[in-house]
């Protein structure tokens, strides 16, 4: 974490553009938390770049007083890879939606993650196509009735976290648009991680998919339906009354009624090399399980941008800085 004092305030990160999201959209909160986090981390406007695809969520860069690219549908990871590989000192954020990242952009998404380019992906998951007015998305549940699926969707949804973990992610996390404190903390953790940080944010689209995450957001239910991950701590939720225990390689929920010791519970470890635990946690879905929120996995591995630049340095070291004259005259030449 940066030790400098914050020099900019959250509102210094607001651009002069009118915000064009629907009133009540979950995107507003994510925008607000992002500005706060960047300010609190002492980030500089000019060293920050937001790159998005297409979708409601992808309008995000317009609203940040930083550099920004509102690119084309699904390809933000590729633009970001080109930028970060050549300008590793910049702080790069990829903003994307469930359609943008997982439908048209699924391939770039997994390749960015496996390469571990040092940047942050924030996926606004509203389980719907917002901008095109309400078709189902790759995270929509089977049976979902939308304009394009009047008889209900028949596609098994993708689990964004599982996919990211299988794609060798070094950092994966989940948060919720309205859970302001948690969202801030999660964005901050993402920013601090070296390598590709992937954060799924449950985001409400109040126009086309209102309430899809209500279970995880509503005061009344969220304690029962989510479990906050804490490194080194057992998985306990429902105000301390319930926990998660491992049964073979499957998790199970248990009542902490005194018969079960905390030590019997599953302890979270975001730093283990192997991705089994993170994968297992990603499979805990509502309503069978409380859904984990927080950081699932945060491990260290070399970043693409540092290595591509290191190879340049090594080449210079080995062959000395390239010289056109030497290049041109290499191999067989003759004089006329």
């Amino acid at each position: 974490m940066s030790t400098e004092l914050p020099v900019l305030s959250a509102k210094d990160f607001a651009s002069d553009q009118d915000i064009r999201w629907c009133p009540g959209c979950g995107d507003y909160s994510i925008l607000a938390q992002m500005k706060t986090v960047l300010a609190s981390l002492g980030k500089k406007q000019e060293e920050t770049v937001f790159i998005s695809g297409i979708g409601c969520s992808s309008r995000f860069p317009y609203y940040m007083n930083t550099y920004g690219l509102h690119s084309i549908h699904g390809r933000a990871p590729a633009f970001a890879t080109g930028l970060k590989s050549t300008r590793p000192e910049l702080d790069v954020w990829v903003i994307t939606g469930d359609g943008d990242a997982l439908s048209i952009g699924g391939n770039h998404f997994i390749h960015l993650i496996r390469r571990n380019v040092d940047l942050n992906i924030i996926l606004f998951n509203n389980s719907i196509y917002g901008l095109t007015k309400g078709q189902y998305s790759p995270t929509s549940k089977v049976g979902k009735v939308t304009k394009s699926t009047p008889m209900g969707s028949i596609d098994q949804p993708l689990n964004p976290l599982s996919v990211a973990i299988a794609a060798e992610a070094s950092f994966v996390a989940r948060s919720v648009d309205t859970n302001i404190k948690h969202l801030r903390a999660t964005l901050q953790r993402a920013s601090e991680h070296r390598g590709t940080s992937f954060v799924e944010v449950y985001q409400n689209c109040n126009i086309f998919n209102d309430g899809v995450w209500d279970y995880a957001k509503a005061k009344a239910t969220k304690d029962e339906t989510t479990v906050e991950l804490q490194h080194g701590k057992p998985l306990i939720y429902a105000g301390g009354t319930k926990g998660i225990r491992l049964n073979g390689f499957s998790p199970e929920t248990v009542d902490l009624d005194g018969n079960i010791a905390q030590d019997d519970l599953l302890f979270h470890d975001e730093k283990i090399e192997s991705s089994q635990l993170a994968f297992l946690l990603s499979r805990m879905r509502h309503p069978e399980f409380p859904e984990p929120i927080g950081v699932f996995r945060a491990v260290d591995r070399p970043t693409y941008d540092s290595q591509i630049n290191a190879q340049v340095e090594q080449a210079v070291e080995k062959k000395s800085k390239g010289d056109l004259k030497t290049l041109f005259n290499s191999g067989d030449t003759w004089t006329v």
């Binding site: 000019e46 920004g68 690119s71 890879t81 591509i308 340049v312 004089t335 006329v336």
Partner: protein, 622 residues
């Protein structure tokens, strides 16, 4: 080791002087024909000939041995005069097996020399080539000077002293053939001996075997009565300078590296492998010490998008591909266009449509490159005319891209990419610098930054992330001129569409006028891209035959050079030879309402000079 001159004594037979020769080497892909061809080319170039080559690979990685599909060919023309093509008719054809013979004999000129490895014509070999009768025994070889050489046997005999197994000994037979050809044309063996020494430095027995085979071939020529004389091709009168033989893709890569250096930029390549473009990636990847970063993307879309990301960050960004991959990049290129960022898209064309003929050459992507994007979306397009020209084209493309802040297309093709010719190595100091200015930092008290303000070339500023005070957002939606803010205003949209078009038109102010070669009236041959050499040679030939004909070759296709309209107006007829169904013709007819005549060939092969000469004569009424 004795000196070359002792081992390879100059011939005692008479030497007939020729102004130029076209040799084709053909054998199985395992027979080492490409190596042989490269050596013959380099040696000829080193001895002062002008040279041009055309390798012809099989479509398969390792097609079954001895089959027609597995034939690998290499053609080289070396000449005492300036030449522009690897030659039309072949003067001497070397064939290592029946498949090579039947697939290549058609290009040998009547009376030409046909040297075959007679050991390669067993019944098994004939069967592999799907032949019932030995072509050496029927009328296939009639009318040629057939010379049967038992190359395999003689190679085995010659390398015996090394104790190599038969399997390894047989691998030396291309060096036997080389010795024979070198003897026939009085070539210097020294460079090849040096090559052998370097290449096989860790395997001295193999090196020795190859030397022995080479010598055996040379001696065979001197000994056999099959050859009454040898041939000599004196040095050409080339412009003085230091030369080097380059292949098109290599020259393109070097040109890009040079452009980066000249503009003080580091180079980023985002690419996905595809024939025949991959070698640009391979070549650039070798030169990371120039600050080159190569990114093998997951696909062509990521490749172009990564390049745009790098351009946004201030690098010299490139993306390379061939037809199918360029088709995939259309959406990304459209974004680059509306972002008005400089970068280069290279299309090394191959036979189409669809997967088409991946290893063959064609010029059929021109219209895709012009129009393959949604909306009105003009971009500058430049085409390389020969392997060595690729170098200059790369530098010029980057000069225009940065001056006008626009993506630029470079067109090459399989013929240029894999062909080679001498390149006069430029003095590095003589290469003009490419001036690039990035706007500097601003404080909050300064005027607000206008990312779409324009200079006299209509270029917008290239503001780099990291610069304080220049924060701005760009994207694919239409934007207000000046501020760059998203705008749905009807008049602004019209203005922006017009401005983008005007900007590309203005490029004409920065490019050279076309030059007329030959006559300025009568018939004009108008060409572009890799057909340059065949067209130039054809026009020369026709001029010598007294035809009133001129030649104009286009490097820039969008925009057309400023004087093109005037030049076109001087002629009665315009002939446009193209390796497609008439794509430049479409653009010329549209632009200048000239009833241009097409000479179109879509066979995956370059033009023969004679095809163009015939057309010129037909059109000129001769």
């Amino acid at each position: 080791m004795s000196s070359p001159a002792e081992l390879f004594p100059p011939t005692k037979k008479p030497a007939e002087a020729l102004s130029g020769v076209t040799v084709r080497l053909a054998g199985d892909s395992g027979d080492g024909m490409q190596l042989l061809g490269t050596q013959l080319t380099n040696t000829s170039a080193l001895s002062g000939n002008d040279v041009a080559t055309f390798p012809d690979f099989p479509a398969e990685i390792r097609a079954p041995r001895g089959t027609r599909a597995g034939v690998s060919g290499f053609q080289v023309q070396f000449s005492a005069e300036e030449i522009f093509t690897p030659g039309d008719g072949v003067d001497t054809l070397i064939c290592m097996n029946p498949a090579a013979l039947v697939t290549n004999i058609g290009d040998l000129r009547r009376g030409g020399i046909l040297i075959v490895n007679s050991d390669g014509f067993s019944d098994k070999d004939l069967k592999l080539a799907k032949l019932d009768v030995n072509p050496l025994d029927d009328d296939t070889v009639e009318g040629y000077r057939l010379i049967k050489v038992p190359m395999t046997t003689m190679t085995r005999d010659s390398v015996e002293p090394t104790g190599l197994s038969v399997k390894f000994a047989d691998r030396c037979k291309n060096f036997f053939a080389m010795g024979l050809v070198f003897w026939l044309y009085g070539r210097d063996v020294e460079p090849t001996l040096r090559f052998i020494e370097n290449k096989f430095s860790s395997k001295p027995d193999v090196a020795e075997a190859n030397r022995l085979a080479l010598k055996a071939g040379w001696n065979y020529g001197e000994t056999t009565e099959n050859f009454a004389s040898t041939f000599s091709v004196p040095a050409a009168e080339l412009e003085p300078g230091v030369y080097k033989n380059v292949m098109g893709n290599q020259a393109l890569a070097w040109g890009l590296i040079a452009a980066a250096e000249l503009s003080g930029k580091e180079l980023f390549l985002g690419s996905y492998p595809i024939t025949p473009a991959s070698d640009i990636l391979h070549e650039l990847a070798k030169h990371k010490n120039f600050g080159v970063r190569t990114f093998q993307a997951e696909d062509e879309i990521a490749a172009v998008c990564s390049a745009i990301g790098a351009a946004l960050g201030g690098s010299m960004a490139i993306t390379t591909s061939s037809g199918p991959g360029i088709a995939l990049k259309g959406e990304g290129i459209g974004l680059g266009l509306i972002l008005e960022l400089p970068f280069i898209i290279i299309d090394v064309q191959r036979g189409g449509p669809s997967t088409g003929l991946p290893t063959k050459t064609e010029q059929s992507d021109l219209l895709m490159v012009m129009h393959g994007r949604n909306g009105d979306s003009p971009l500058p397009v430049i085409a390389a005319q020969s392997p060595a020209d690729c170098f200059d084209v790369a530098v010029e493309a980057w000069r225009i891209a940065t001056k006008y802040m626009t993506p630029v297309f470079i067109l090459s093709d399989g013929y240029i990419a894999n062909g080679s010719e001498p390149w006069k190595i430029p003095e590095v100091e003589s290469l003009g610098k490419i001036e690039i200015n990035h706007p500097g930092a601003r404080s909050p008290d300064d005027e607000p930054f206008m990312p779409y303000a324009r200079d006299k070339n209509l270029a917008r500023p290239w503001a780099l992330p990291g610069t304080p005070g220049l924060m701005h957002r760009v994207g694919g939606l239409e934007k207000q001129d000046g501020t760059g803010n998203v705008s749905y205003d009807p008049d602004n949209h019209q203005h922006m569409v017009d401005t983008r078009a005007k900007k590309v038109e203005r490029v004409a102010e920065s490019i050279a006028d076309v030059e007329v070669f030959g006559k300025s009236k009568g018939t004009l041959v108008l060409s572009w891209g890799g057909t340059y050499g065949a067209c130039r040679t054809a026009v020369k030939t026709a001029l010598e035959a007294g035809v009133e004909v001129g030649h104009v070759h286009l490097r820039w296709i969008n925009p057309f050079p400023a004087n093109l309209e005037k030049v076109l107006g001087q002629y009665d007829n315009v002939v446009i030879p193209e390796l497609n169904t008439g794509q430049l013709r479409l653009l010329i007819k549209d632009k200048f309402l000239v009833n241009a005549i097409g000479l179109n060939k879509v066979k995956g092969k370059p033009f023969h000079v004679s095809e163009i000469v015939d057309k010129i004569k037909e059109v000129a009424g001769k």
